[in-house]
Symmetry: C2
Subunit: 171 residues, 2 copies
């Protein structure tokens, strides 16, 4: 039995609806590696800049948790990815992060995107401050690359969960 990956599974990996539709169109994939190659081609060469902005907008701000009422798979992934950060954070770090997030958004017109897995809030704040100096077009491309890292981690998780479902169904 092949894995069934639906459009809303892809939206959890990356919040661009064009990305999700093109991944469904390119399915099925023989392996995670093949799927990631296709996802990179779609993300960097096929979906457009408004689609990138749509994907960025799907994330909570770093240092913010999605509200408890937001029980979506996307929100759960965001929380899990910031687990290292929240385990080691402080009120003052969160406050400074919040201020810099606001400056960043004001300058670039989109939220600060960073692959948060395994990183502390202090590390991400240092990254934010460094990236703040960039030209907007340069920062857009960095954000798109960070989004792709997040997408790849989420795809790996998606494939391992789906594989489990398939093996449970078959046993």
């Amino acid at each position: 039995m092949a894995m069934e990956i639906r459009e809303d599974d892809w939206v959890v990996c990356c919040g661009s609806s064009d990305f999700a539709k093109l991944m469904v169109k390119a399915s099925p994939f023989s392996s995670l590696e093949t799927a990631i190659d296709v996802a990179r081609e779609i993300w960097f060469n096929q979906v457009n800049v408004p689609a990138w902005l749509e994907a960025f907008a799907a994330h909570p701000q770093i240092g913010n948790s999605p509200s408890p009422s937001n029980n979506s798979d996307f929100a759960r992934r965001s929380v899990a990815e910031q687990s290292t950060a929240f385990a080691t954070t402080s009120a003052s770090a969160l406050e400074e992060l919040s201020e810099w997030n606001a400056l960043y958004r004001q300058k670039f017109g989109f939220i600060f995107i960073i692959c948060a897995s395994g990183r502390t809030h202090a590390e991400m704040l240092a990254e934010l401050k460094g990236r703040y100096a960039n030209r907007p077009i340069v920062e857009l491309e960095i954000a798109a690359k960070e989004q792709m890292k997040i997408t790849e981690l989420r795809m790996a998780k998606l494939f391992s969960e789906k594989a489990e479902v398939v093996s449970q169904t078959e046993s």
Copy 2:
């Protein structure tokens, strides 16, 4: 008497409201050359990607005239810039341009931007076809550079008109 350039004059040069506001803030300018240097710094390094998209969206599609009811200064500039093109065009060229404009907009999520002054529709169509193959982020930067060329031509026109008003007032 110094030239008085208002925010809506700057919006005629470039349809980003952030650009217009920052140009007002940086005023007055001792010469057109100084103003262009400042405009380039603001356009490429200060206003963000959503502001670029706002500026692109202010233009009519190449090959389309603004509707006769659109009597704005911005629309008049667009018509004047395409005067060479319209003087030498044909129905079939306009049809092909319209089809490619639609393909372009579908791929990139914004209108095809090109500095039209002195160019024929056939030349612009050839450019469009060449640029269509670009990655979205690459094309975004090319479009921003074309917008800056348009802005510079419009600033030159604005400064010469304002200089005329000043000299008439003084005589």
